[in-house]
């Protein structure tokens, strides 16, 4: 199966893999995430009602309150955090949130992760080496990207 490799900058070290959850909307921490369940609660967010728990969260960046890091900090302690984060735009909210979440995180990638990665793809985030490895999901009998290229 063909794998897509993206290269970027380590934000927080480590290596983890899981199913991707991708959003084009910036994520709000305080007032946007229920840290006990990992559920997105921002009413106009495209992921509202979905949980980031155990996922590789792929998103453009952070917005909203300075309580961002604390929400992801509590999510980690409550066992409801993502296993890794891949994002486009660094900010203090996001850098601190990633640090206190203590899970691998990468930014500044050589391709736009929002274009390359789709929800449900299997993604390995090797932050120590700055590598994101994407295995496209073959959804419901349709030919996946790897198959088309093959």
């Amino acid at each position: 199966m063909t794998k897509i490799i993206l290269r970027g900058r380590r934000v927080v070290g480590g290596c983890a893999e899981g199913e991707a959850l991708v959003t084009r909307d910036a994520i709000t921490g305080w007032g946007g995430l229920n840290p006990m369940t990992g559920t997105i609660i921002e009413t106009r967010h495209e992921l509202v009602g979905q949980s980031i728990k155990g996922k590789v969260l792929v998103f453009p960046g952070a917005k909203g309150s300075s309580g961002w890091s604390t929400r992801f900090h509590i999510a980690r302690l409550a066992g409801a955090a993502p296993v890794a984060m891949v994002f486009n735009k660094i900010s203090t909210k996001l850098a601190l949130g990633a640090v206190v979440m203590r899970a691998p995180a990468i930014t500044d990638l050589d391709q736009d992760p929002l274009q390359v990665i789709a929800t449900g793809d299997w993604v390995k985030v090797d932050a120590d080496n700055g590598i994101v490895e994407v295995t496209k999901r073959s959804a419901g009998g349709t030919t996946d990207l790897a198959g088309v290229q093959g």
Binding site: S66, T92, V100
Partner: protein
């Protein structure tokens, strides 16, 4: 990151375990940002305490407030004894008003824990301003001063209106800054990052507090973390208007800085605000954009029977309290509705002396301090429908408190409290 000898000494633990943990976090955080060094700060705004259920349980299990500070203000799983603050540090908005906690539905246990936390905070030298608007009540940084502030609405005010320099810090980084007097030298601490990114042609007269909120809410959504430069005519906006504008832009987006040439201190002209660079985009703000922001802020509200009106997000200025009193004097809040106005404690002291608190109480309303409904999760019992003149509070109340929320002018909100009905509209 390159550390000075003094910073390295703290990292090596030569100033005790708490500063070692603080420096360890600052290094991890600085490296995550891609910062090369730290900068000195003697102006920190943070939050210390355990007001939410999760933190209360954590405090009970982990052994008290040193453990809470270690985990949530230093990201240290190991509980260390917290020494006196090194930098001047102010407490931000908290979970309850110690003078109205029973009316706010707070349990005696939580109130007691709050008291212990106030004592803990005072012991380590935190200034108990207890407001989201420290710049209203004694912490007014000067232009160029390096700060480490939490509270997105205060951060945008600090950078834009005062010309002081802070990123949007979090609880952990401000805890570390408080103990070390250091914060990563990154982002808005550096002059080259403070120029405008977007020019906004404001075609309307933006005058009222509601209109400044609408403009901010729209801009945040469009520019996200950009630095908008407003091209506009009209009256110079005052503290209250800029407070609502910045709070709204930091809610729908991540705006930490803006320029209004001729008004804000780092912008004599549009070209100056842009630092000689071309803007990423030039946007227009007209009637359609205004109407869209108003519709978005009212998207969750359907029922016109209003149980609860909230004013003072960010915390009211003295002028806003005075204005509310002029609208309330001799009136009476509807039997089925509540009106809570929030202000910094220091402003409430003045309001008491001016008999504003009496006017508000006589109308059946309340003047509260130290907290707000979204942050403290405090509301009168049984609220289904709320109304507020704050774009920020209106954005958060439906998701945090699960209530329908109307957004409108201060006058429409007070009218709703008096009649028990929402009759606001975009005029």
């Amino acid at each position: 990151m390159r550390l000075t000898d003094a910073e390295q000494a703290m990292l090596d633990g030569r100033e005790g375990p708490a500063k070692q943990k603080a420096m360890d976090l600052l290094v991890r955080y600085g490296e995550a940002l891609g910062a090369e060094r730290l900068v000195d700060t003697n102006n920190v705004c943070t939050t210390v305490g355990a007001s939410t259920p999760f933190l209360r349980d954590f405090a009970a299990k982990a052994g008290g407030l040193d453990a809470v500070f270690s985990e949530f203000n230093l990201d240290s799983p190991e509980a260390v004894k917290i020494p006196h603050a090194k930098a001047f540090t102010c407490q931000l908005i908290q979970g309850l008003d110690p003078d109205h906690w029973q009316e706010q539905g707070v349990s005696p246990e939580v109130h007691a824990l709050h008291g212990r936390n106030e004592a803990f905070s005072a012991d380590i030298g935190i200034q108990m301003l207890n407001t989201c608007t420290p710049y209203q009540v004694g912490n007014v940084p000067v232009k160029g001063e390096h700060c480490a502030w939490m509270e997105s609405s205060a951060v945008v005010y600090c950078n834009s209106v005062l010309g002081a320099r802070t990123n949007t810090e979090g609880r952990e980084s401000t805890g570390a800054a408080m103990l070390t007097g250091k914060i990563p030298d990154w982002g808005l601490h550096r002059a080259e990052n403070r120029f405008g990114s977007h020019v906004v042609e404001v075609e309307l007269d933006v005058e009222s507090i509601m209109d400044w909120g609408l403009l901010g809410y729209h801009l945040g959504e469009v520019v996200q973390e950009g630095v908008p430069v407003l091209k506009r005519q009209g009256r110079v906006p005052d503290l209250s208007r800029l407070k609502h504008f910045g709070a709204a832009a930091a809610t729908s987006g991540g705006v930490e800085m803006y320029h209004i040439p001729g008004v804000t201190p780092e912008a004599d002209s549009v070209a100056g605000a842009l630092g000689g660079r071309r803007p990423q985009a030039t946007l227009k703000y007209g009637a359609a954009e205004r109407a869209r922001a108003y519709a978005e802020l009212n998207a969750n509200a359907k029922d016109t029977k209003v149980d609860f009106v909230m004013l003072g997000c960010p915390h009211s200025s003295l002028e806003q309290v005075w204005h509310a009193c002029k609208l309330l004097e001799g009136k009476r809040i509807h039997a089925n509705s509540h009106l809570w106005i929030f202000a910094p404690r220091a402003i409430r002291e003045v309001a008491d002396r001016n008999r504003y608190t009496r006017i508000i109480t006589d109308a059946g309303a309340r003047l509260m301090s130290d907290t707000c409904p979204a942050l403290g999760q405090v509301m009168p019992p049984g609220v289904r429908v709320a109304a507020t003149d704050s774009a920020k509070q209106s954005h958060y109340l439906p998701s945090i408190m699960g209530v329908q929320t109307w957004f409108g002018s201060t006058e429409d909100c007070i009218q709703a409290a008096i009649t028990g009905r929402w009759q606001g509209e975009l005029r």
